[in-house]
């Protein structure tokens, strides 16, 4: 199986969140992301730090993740970013 690169993994994680009505708990996200726990934690910290996702705590104190505007922009621009990297062989 082909190893996904960093940009693709981030795209996949954000797509999962978006496709779950923009609200998912961290554990199901880890399960569906096909990443090891340590890799997931790394990516989770990265996308949180970059402001692609935000943590939302509901009334019962449960943590949900949802995309920010920047996260939606990333999904929107992902094909451009990928196209740019391929076109200029970066």
């Amino acid at each position: 199986m082909r190893k996904r690169d960093r940009l693709e993994v981030i795209f996949d994680i954000l797509t999962i969140i978006r496709d779950r009505h923009n609200s998912i708990k961290p554990t199901p996200l880890l399960r569906t992301s096909n990443l090891s726990s340590s890799s997931f934690n790394e990516y989770y910290a990265e996308i949180l730090k970059k402001g692609f996702i935000q943590e939302v705590i509901d009334k019962k104190g449960k943590k949900y993740l949802s995309l920010t505007d920047k996260g939606f922009t990333y999904l929107e621009k992902y094909t451009y970013i990928l196209g740019f990297i391929r076109e200029f062989e970066l």
């Binding site: 940009l7 970059k50 920047k70 922009t73 990333y74 621009k77 451009y80 970013i81 196209g83 740019f84 990297i85 076109e87 200029f88 062989e89 970066l90």
Partner: protein
């Protein structure tokens, strides 16, 4: 018969100024139009690519100032010999960094274990100090030509062939060397200089057009 010096030939001066302005504008546009996708991706290849055009833009500004300085020494007897080496130093540093960023933007994955920023700025510093010490932009030209030859050989060893985009990167490198070589306006006829400058602008425009497709 060589053309009259830059200061005494408005057509020559305007051509040189227009070339510099257009080249710098393209470099700046390329740098800023790719800001959005870099901010989102933080992808190293895009970072090196953007740095390359930022440094190249600065190099073309300095090249223009250097040409004015050189001609003022020849034509107006101004004696700016004290500041001339400093211009060569800065031009050498920015241009070497720019062309190395451009070359490395497409091969960084193969050499990512190396401290690339230290290599780029270290090489730029060594080359520019060598040119500064000899007070000659031609030394810089020879050293950068050697760098181009090494870069092409390494690329062929690593990739077995030169792809179309890499050829364009090396063409930008080569055109910079030509533009540096013709700086004092005595080496080639005016018409040939114009051809090289036009080709340089066409290459910058080609890159800019390609970028525009991905940065709507």
């Amino acid at each position: 018969m060589p053309p009259p010096p830059l200061f005494f030939n408005p057509a020559l001066f305007i051509t040189e100024l227009a070339f510099t302005l257009i080249a710098v504008i393209f470099c700046i546009l390329i740098y800023f139009r790719t800001k959005g996708i870099y901010d989102l991706s933080k992808y190293k290849g895009i970072k090196y690519f953007r740095h390359a055009f930022l440094f190249l833009g600065l190099s073309y500004i300095l090249r223009f100032l250097l040409s004015i300085l050189m001609l003022s020494m020849m034509t107006l007897d101004l004696r700016p010999r004290m500041i001339m080496p400093f211009f060569i130093l800065i031009t050498g540093y920015f241009s070497t960094a720019g062309i190395l960023y451009l070359v490395l933007s497409s091969v960084w994955k193969k050499v990512k274990a190396l401290p690339l920023n230290i290599i780029i700025h270290g090489t730029a510093l060594i080359l520019s100090i060598a040119a500064f010490a000899t007070r000659s932009h031609l030394i810089l030209l020879y050293l950068q030509t050697a760098l181009l030859v090494i870069a092409v050989i390494l690329n062929i060893i690593m990739h077995k062939k030169l792809s179309r985009m890499r050829i364009i990167y090396y063409l930008i490198f080569f055109l910079w060397l030509i533009n540096l070589w013709i700086i004092d306006r005595r080496r080639l006829p005016f018409e040939i200089n114009i051809v090289f400058q036009l080709v340089s602008l066409i290459v910058f425009y080609f890159i800019y057009r390609k970028i525009s497709k991905f940065t709507p």
